[in-house]
Symmetry: C2
Subunit: 109 residues, 2 copies
DNA sequence: TCAATATATGAACAGTTGTTCATATATAAA
DNA sequence: TTTATATATGAACAACTGTTCATATATTGA
């Protein structure tokens, strides 16, 4: 058996690492529902503007999100459909494992 | 718009974090092809036995792998089919992004 | 019981990561 | 231009992560 290509192992690790942070998960989950500018994200997610910008840079640099300037605002959106698939995959896995549905007030995610 | 359940964001982050390391990727990729005991993994992946054991513990504790003792050996296997799906997802994404197929000597992964 | 082999674990350490604070840049309005 | 608003960035720092080395535990066979 031949082990995985070394470079692929590192690239894959780096790719999943992007999703390995709750702040970035929150951002992506929000953008999954609609495109938003930075100040909208700050308000929706209740996180520090600087922390958000730093995380958006990471997502940008890894081609997970795109952005466009609208006057004073910068609007972010998901770069492709893989992100949603990946998040759903993760949610399914952990839901199966712990039997918890992560619902709040009877509403679905 | 309601933001993601806070607990889910952390759990999802923790879940993806598991895949965010090249050593663990190598282990999972190997186990995707067949169950293996620790010494087989040490040889196949050419990594330190202690480092491997530490990583296997993490995978175990997060229900990513199962294990069974066969005499002196401990054989590890993937816990469910989500892992393969996730890895393929990741490979697809980064292949699309950088246009690189990660093949070696003309063989497919 | 003793030796050999297989695996696991704890402590220490270097490297990485995410946040915060302060400040810079960019755009629009006055 | 000046001022206000939106976003980005650099430096500093605490917390976390993965590896290594040494050692412990478990199993088998002599």
């Amino acid at each position: 058996m031949r082990p995985i290509n070394e470079e692929l192992a590192y690239d894959l690790g780096d790719f999943f690492k992007i999703f390995g942070d709750p702040t970035r998960i929150k951002i992506l989950y929000a953008l999954l529902q609609k495109d938003m500018c930075v100040s909208e994200l700050v308000e929706t997610l209740a996180i520090n503007q600087s922390a958000l910008s730093h995380q958006l840079r990471i997502l940008r640099q890894n081609d997970i999100v795109k952005f466009r300037r609208d006057g004073k605002n910068v609007t972010y959106s998901l770069d492709d459909e893989h992100v949603g698939i990946l998040l759903k995959n993760g949610i399914e896995h952990i839901s199966h494992k712990n039997g918890y549905s992560y619902e709040e007030g009877g509403e679905e995610i």
